[in-house]
């Protein structure tokens, strides 16, 4: 990437200022079809788009028409729940994001993104792990700073000794005969005392159990008027909201939404598979934001940033199954109380044959690490981008978030905003 490079020093956090910002990382697994989700609405690109996707294109008008974001781009109508947040300046979209690596493998791409070291498989830690271990603004005494909502912990948190995985908080309990479970737990404390990885995991689990029990977690009632979509994605977001409101010190949480590998039957708009999935995705994010957007002490959105990303986008040209195969360029959504919202960001590479990556895919013009680095430095107060993303140098800021006042970050935003 050409252009001036910022030194990390420019974004340094004042020493001793604790940072209570919350970051939620939503991983969209399977490779979301950004060209159906953020379709081009006008110009030559619209013509290329309609020619490449005769059956799965999102129309400009009529039934199932895209919702217009600006003169050039829209969003899929199933993302309607996010429209208000966009218009209120709480959300923006970065187009043509992705990996500076040439894989079209789900599993390679996810791993590269989550380790934060594209092209290197063997990295022993995730990017969030390295953020947590290098962040000067994180209060070390927090009880539960890192939450993985679900059973499996994602690679972005690989190697983090503090992450806890929770599916539903009220069921985070030690099952057994009530008369003896305390004795069993005490015995486990005496037994898991070695220095092995298994001992470490067991102690972490026993500690988390103590904290969660102490918090006396019951059933969760979201804020008035908030309804999460049914299913695992809504449930896990609900879990995160509940955990945040318990004030146990959650600073980072991860959540997955799967099912995006649409080689087949995306469905014609407005009905169909992709529409249903997008409705769950958008409904979940909107409900979560609203749930945390209370007044006074119940307001968490003022310190909330959410970022949603996928391992890649899909092939520009549809296949014969009303789907699209694995592609390259993707898109990211950033949402939160201090986002420079209501904007479509990034440099649009175009959809002519010459502009496509290898002639077939949306190109990547913004390294996904740029987006994450702006959040990490601008909101989370961690200037050590070199530790979080080794070997990566930030490009000029896209201005994705409003920097916390200490950073004098807004002045650095160049005029590349669309």
């Amino acid at each position: 990437m050409a252009g001036a490079r910022l030194t990390n020093i420019a974004l340094a956090s004042p020493a001793g200022v604790a940072n209570d910002e919350i970051l939620i990382v939503v991983f969209i697994r399977g490779g979301w079809d950004v060209l159906s989700i953020f379709p081009p609405l006008a110009g030559a690109d619209r013509s290329y788009y309609e020619a490449a996707r005769p059956t799965i294109k999102v129309p400009v008008s009529g039934t199932g028409a895209a919702i217009q974001l600006n003169s050039q781009f829209g969003i899929h109508p199933a993302l309607a729940p996010l429209q208000n947040l966009y218009q209120a300046g709480k959300m923006n979209v970065v187009l043509a994001t992705g990996l500076q690596d040439d894989t079209r493998s789900h599993f390679d791409a996810m791993e590269y993104i989550e380790t934060g070291t594209p092209g290197i498989r063997a990295t022993p830690t995730g990017w969030l792990t390295r953020h947590l271990s290098s962040s000067p603004g994180l209060d070390a005494s927090l009880l539960l700073p890192v939450l993985s909502a679900g059973v499996q912990t994602p690679t972005s948190l690989l190697g983090d000794p503090k992450v806890i995985a929770v599916d539903t908080p009220s069921s985070f309990s030690f099952q057994g005969n009530w008369r003896y479970t305390n004795d069993q737990r005490m015995a486990l404390r005496h037994i898991y005392t070695g220095n092995t990885w298994l001992d470490a995991a067991a102690v972490e689990t026993l500690n988390a159990l103590d904290i969660m029990e102490n918090a006396a977690i019951g059933a969760y009632t979201p804020a008035t008027g908030v309804t999460y979509p049914a299913g695992p994605f809504g449930d896990t977001l609900k879990t995160i909201a509940q955990m945040i409101k318990l004030d146990l010190g959650i600073r980072i949480a991860t959540v997955d939404i799967g099912g995006w590998d649409t080689h087949q039957y995306e469905g014609t708009n407005p009905a169909g598979y992709l529409s249903n999935l997008l409705a769950i995705f958008a409904g979940g994010l909107a409900a979560f934001y609203q749930d945390l957007d209370g007044a006074g002490a119940q307001n968490y959105t003022s310190r909330l940033t959410m970022v949603a990303m996928s391992e890649f986008g899909r092939r520009f040209k549809e296949n014969a199954d009303q789907g699209a195969d694995h592609g390259h360029g993707s898109a990211m959504i950033v949402l939160g109380g201090n986002v420079n919202g209501g904007r479509v960001l990034g440099s649009w590479p175009g959809l002519s044959a010459a502009q496509l990556y290898q002639g077939v895919d949306l190109a990547v013009t913004t390294d996904y690490r740029q987006v994450l680095s702006e959040i990490v430095s601008g909101r989370l107060g961690n200037p050590n981008i070199g530790a979080v993303f080794p070997g990566f140098t930030m490009a000029p800021l896209l201005g994705i978030v409003k920097a916390r006042p200490a950073f004098n970050y807004t002045a650095l935003i160049p005029s590349v905003l669309k």
Partner: protein, 575 residues
């Protein structure tokens, strides 16, 4: 925008040594926080650094009987360790060979007691042909004029029940362990209410089990032509007018050559050749060509083409096939070949490629030995794989070479049991007697993150310890010990129970004696470190001096809880 230079193929190749994970979104099991100072520069492949426990922290190597029964079986049932020790042979290594040769010849094992139990479970989908399954569970699901999609599930439900019964009660343990390995390797999400669930009994029996000890090339084609896989990876609609690459990509990346041999999007012409004259790996051009080779590989389903029989069997449909010439892995596929020949050529090329041998060998070693198996045994197993590529018992020979290696016999505690292994192990060790399984079991089991045939992504469940050590997974693992043995699981009105008091010898009357009996019975060896045994004795003594004689009421109350506790300990969790 400046792009990163094209990947350096030699660097990719160097990464082969590091191994790759089998699972989604989980990398190598390493715990070492990187700092800017010690993080390697991005253009150098970092050295693998498995977290090292100092030798005093690791448990000592247990007897070979314990290693074998915890890695080649779902744990020891009462009497299994004695039976191993009674095998002919002057040393444990020779006894291991006798054990493995028995286990790798499963048709010669008298399993009649288990067979009777399985028969009594009345799992009727297991007795049906593919066409019958299709008719009974795919086509005929309408009740009173309304389609009831739950009627698509009995085959996968029956396979799940049979899988658990076999894991717990069958003597053909290594066959079951390997069946699980291959199911996971050729993963199909079984609960789709569609082609896979309705035909899952066929997929399990005729596709996976029929080839577990057989030939990899044959297995590839059996999988690729099965309705479950054709549907799951969308090949059943793959046609010349707009190929669907889903199956082709995963065939190369997951089933065959493996991601360790994927070189990305560089031109095929730029890929170096190996010593055998083959490209050292595959690129996206190969994926595109393979997708074309499999156009027209379909299922006889309800699609409305003339001549199609709706019976769920395989269909080669020439009208959808792209008959143009292609090149796959540097090998020309001529135009207008005979029916099926394009796809079969692809299977031949994949099965014969040395990269496939290394990938499959590494994955088998990862299952049977350790998360990062030594390169020496991977190379040795890969050599067998390649040398025996046409042998009808190729996979049996590969497995035998791995198990009878020094690496197998001298490795311990590099892995933790998966949820499946630990739960089957509990049921085996304690002798729970059952033939039906209630949902109550799955409520806890599934929350450990490994529901049967429930992995939605085609890479299957991860086979590295990091995947199973999360707080939720461990908590439910401990909970399962209590649930399974605490009288909390009932099915058809019968509570799963096991009388641990009557299994305790009458001479063991004090807490210490009872604890020592059950530690040996469950673990087959003393606990490590010795202080763990003290904690067990303290538990059953309930804080009293451990030399007293326990009353009947106390043993009834405390022995099951103590056995649960032993199973929560690291000595039961290592493998």
């Amino acid at each position: 925008m400046s792009k990163k230079p094209k990947p350096d193929l030699s660097r990719r190749d160097a990464l082969l040594v590091g191994g790759l994970i089998a699972g989604a979104a989980l990398a190598e099991p390493l715990i070492r926080l990187a700092t800017p100072e010690n993080f390697p520069a991005p253009d150098t492949a970092p050295q693998k650094q498995t977290q090292q426990n100092s030798p005093s922290d690791l448990p000592p190597l247990p007897p070979l009987s314990v290693i074998a029964l915890n890695r080649l079986a779902y744990g020891a049932r009462p009497g299994d360790i004695d039976a191993f020790n009674a095998l002919p042979g002057a040393s444990p290594a020779i006894q291991l060979q006798a054990y493995v040769d028995q286990q790798l010849n499963p048709s010669a094992i008298d399993d009649s007691v288990f067979d009777a139990r399985l028969n009594s479970a009345n799992l009727t989908p297991l007795t049906k042909t593919l066409a019958q399954l299709w008719n009974d569970y795919y086509v005929n699901i309408t009740v009173s004029g309304i389609a009831n999609y739950n009627l698509r599930l009995p085959p996968v439900t029956a396979v799940r029940t049979a899988t658990i019964l076999r894991a717990v009660f069958s003597k053909k343990q290594l066959f079951e362990v390997l069946t699980n390995f291959w199911h996971n390797h050729f993963n199909v999400f079984g609960w789709d209410y569609d082609y896979a669930s309705a035909t899952f009994a066929y997929y399990d029996h005729e596709v996976i089990r029929a080839n577990v000890l057989g030939n990899f090339r044959q297995m590839l084609e059996a999988v690729g032509a099965s309705p479950a896989m054709l549907f799951y990876l969308n090949n059943y609609t793959n046609r010349a007018t707009g190929p669907n690459e889903n199956y082709a990509r995963e065939l190369l990346e997951l089933h065959g050559l493996g991601a360790e041999n994927y070189l990305g999007t560089v031109p095929a012409s730029s890929v170096p050749l190996d010593a055998t004259g083959r490209p050292i790996g595959y690129v996206d051009e190969d994926v595109f060509a393979v997708a074309k080779c499999f156009t027209g590989w379909r299922v006889n389903d309800s699609s409305t083409q003339s001549g199609v029989v709706n019976d769920g069997t395989f269909l080669y449909y020439p009208a959808w096939h792209d008959a143009a010439a292609k090149t796959v892995l540097g090998h020309p596929i001529p135009a207008n070949q005979a029916a099926l020949k394009d796809g079969r050529d692809v299977y031949d090329l994949i099965a014969a490629h040395p990269g496939t041998g290394r990938y499959i060998a590494r994955k088998l070693c990862r299952r049977l030995i350790s998360d990062n198996p030594p390169q020496s045994i991977v190379d040795a197993a890969a050599a067998v794989f390649t040398a025996q590529k046409d042998a009808p018992d190729q996979l049996k020979q590969v497995v035998r070479a791995i198990i009878l290696s020094n690496e197998f016999m001298t490795t311990w505690a590099q892995k933790v049991k998966t949820p499946l292994e630990v739960s089957m192990g509990i049921l085996r060790a304690t002798g729970v007697d059952f033939t039906t399984i209630s949902d109550a079991f799955f409520w806890t089991f599934d929350r450990m993150g490994q529901p049967f045939f429930g992995c939605r992504t085609p890479n299957g469940y991860p086979d590295v310890r990091e995947a199973w050590l999360g707080t939720m997974s461990l908590l439910n693992r401990w909970g399962l010990c209590n649930t399974l043995l605490g009288g909390r699981i009932s099915a058809n009105g019968v509570t799963w129970s096991v009388d641990m008091v009557s299994q305790t010898p009458t001479v063991a009357q004090t807490p210490a004696a009872i604890a020592d009996f059950w530690i040996q019975r469950i673990l087959g060896r003393p606990m490590y470190p010795a202080s763990s045994r003290d904690a067990i004795v303290d538990f059953i003594s309930q804080g009293r001096n451990s030399g007293f004689k326990m009353t009947a009421a106390e043993t009834t109350d405390l022995v099951p809880r103590m056995v649960e506790l032993i199973m929560m300990c690291p000595d039961f969790q290592w493998r």
